[in-house]
Symmetry: C2
Subunit: 328 residues, 2 copies
């Protein structure tokens, strides 16, 4: 490995652009290679970000011996294929969220990384923010006592466009995988285990995918979570963790830059964690730290947890009777 970690980008869409804008902030990261199935798109993107190598095929990037880690930014129905491509070529991999379409795919990806002894991480970017580090620290210190309830909502509103990713079952559309996953991974981070029981209200829209749902998870008698997802409704995007001694609110928990603690008998206190850009750099920093440390998975988001979350989403979709056409 050179002094800088050399990144290779697979897929150059909207999310890759946001990621790379923040990756560019890191002095020890190099935007080394970019790949798109469209040479034209790759050329434009590569020129814009000063990439050393510009590929019109994902395979070529995977086979470039100078790429240290591949960022998989293709649509999530392609994460399995592109992660395997890069892992099998000996690359470390940071795979965009949702990590895969179902637990079966996630398991194959994880098995491959372990077999190849390569680093693999779920790019659930919100987990790696300094505000989230602080939240985990506060919870470990039992600041709010025993957690009894997690509340989180993530909903956006867009027009129903059947062929587009959010609404298209062929692309594993729906609110659950795209935005509900933020809420589920948050609850998973807090409780550190999967729910034992799940109930929900949900609506499958005209294209067959979930457009609005409220999930209620139960972990034990006094541990619950209420999680809202939508692609037809904008919601505040707030998360709250409520315990026996108070609660912590994280406004805008998908760009977390503050925590407000409301503890029994004390004035509310807000801790701020300002950062530059959108905050995608934090997951890239975690990747760098792990790779330099010789780890093949992140202790902040172990692959077993990623797998468990995919299993939870499988279970919810099974309850809903929502299978994607390619799963049959």
């Amino acid at each position: 490995m050179s002094d800088k970690i050399r990144w290779g980008l697979i897929g150059l869409g909207f999310i890759a652009r946001r990621f790379v804008n923040d990756l560019a902030r890191l002095p020890d990261a190099e935007i080394y290679a970019v790949a798109s199935r469209s040479q034209e798109k790759a050329d434009a993107f590569g020129a814009e970000y000063g990439a050393t190598k510009i590929y019109g095929s994902y395979e070529d990037l995977a086979n470039d011996p100078n790429v240290d880690v591949a960022y998989i930014g293709t649509p999530h129905n392609l994460h399995l294929e592109h992660s395997l491509l890069c892992l099998n070529a000996g690359k470390h991999v940071l795979c965009e969220k949702p990590f895969a379409v179902n637990a079966k795919e996630a398991q194959v990806m994880i098995d491959c990384a372990r077999e190849k002894n390569r680093f693999l991480m779920d790019a659930f970017w919100t987990r790696y923010f300094p505000a989230m580090d602080k939240l985990r620290e506060l919870l470990a210190e039992d600041v709010i006592g025993d957690v009894m309830l997690v509340q989180a909502d993530f909903g956006g509103r867009g027009p129903v466009v059947p062929e587009k990713r959010h609404f298209n079952p062929d692309l594993a559309g729906g609110a659950l995988l795209d935005v509900g996953s933020y809420c589920i991974q948050f609850a998973s981070m807090i409780y550190g285990k999967p729910p034992t029981d799940i109930v929900s209200q949900y609506t499958l829209g005209s294209t067959g995918v979930d457009e609005l749902s409220v999930l209620v998870f139960r972990y034990s008698d006094y541990e619950m979570a209420t999680l809202t997802s939508a692609i037809r409704l904008g919601t505040p995007h707030e998360a709250r963790v409520m315990g026996t001694e108070g609660y912590i609110a994280i406004p805008n928990f998908w760009h977390p830059n503050e925590l407000t603690s409301v503890l029994s008998g004390q004035a509310p206190e807000t801790l701020r964690f300002p950062y530059e850009g959108e905050g995608f750099q934090f997951e890239a920093i975690e990747v760098g730290n792990c790779i330099r440390g010789g780890l093949i998975e992140s202790p902040v988001y172990p692959l077993e947890e990623t797998l468990t979350i995919m299993q939870t989403m499988d279970r919810i979709r099974a309850d809903w009777g929502l299978r994607y056409p390619f799963e049959d």
Copy 2:
């Protein structure tokens, strides 16, 4: 009726004291009579508030021809008995929340009021605040478009004391009736109809009553509510109404004094509604307006809605297998 509405208070506990502190702010209301089963308690309370008549029995207050309206502030397992006592004696009645223990009781109370042609109202005080008037006005103006989700939480944390009201099944204890009712009546106000489908996670504690629950109501495919209640967990007490064009948040919705509107493409706006005291005066003002206007129920909170909410709570308790001993 004299120039002032002469109030008679049945039950002189914690809630009656809070109510009467605010009632005393109204120039056209007179704290005319008070009654407790303890003459001593009645004497002390009556002297403190300058009541003209002080009774050691509820019957005597009910039979005082000068009482215009009785406020029923006894524990909710006694609301039926004391409301009927006063209605049958020809008094108008404002009955504390929860209005009754179940829909059967509520129906008897409503039937009695109609038969006697007396005013009867559910003292769900939060409904009558100026902030709630404004919220109803904004929703009627479709400011946030079509409502898709209501979120509300009401939880307090107290020690488990089996004989005390909150935990005692003989006194119709549990979170649902005591605090969950705030959330349910709020959702009912927004949607103006009962849910068609309900799912929940809930925990019945050591005394047999519900200590923590999350309810998810469905009204139609794109109309839901997620409602949290607890007597073992303090929660923020916030309500939010989310629609297709934005949402309105009501922090501390059981003492509502502000509304924050977050509308698509606009800066958030907070409207403030300061008031004196705790805000119990607003329900008393509504009672005064209705009685002076010759109404026997409030258009702000019709008895049919009170009944529907009790039916909803019956249905939830039936799902949970939670019956109070005196219901058998």
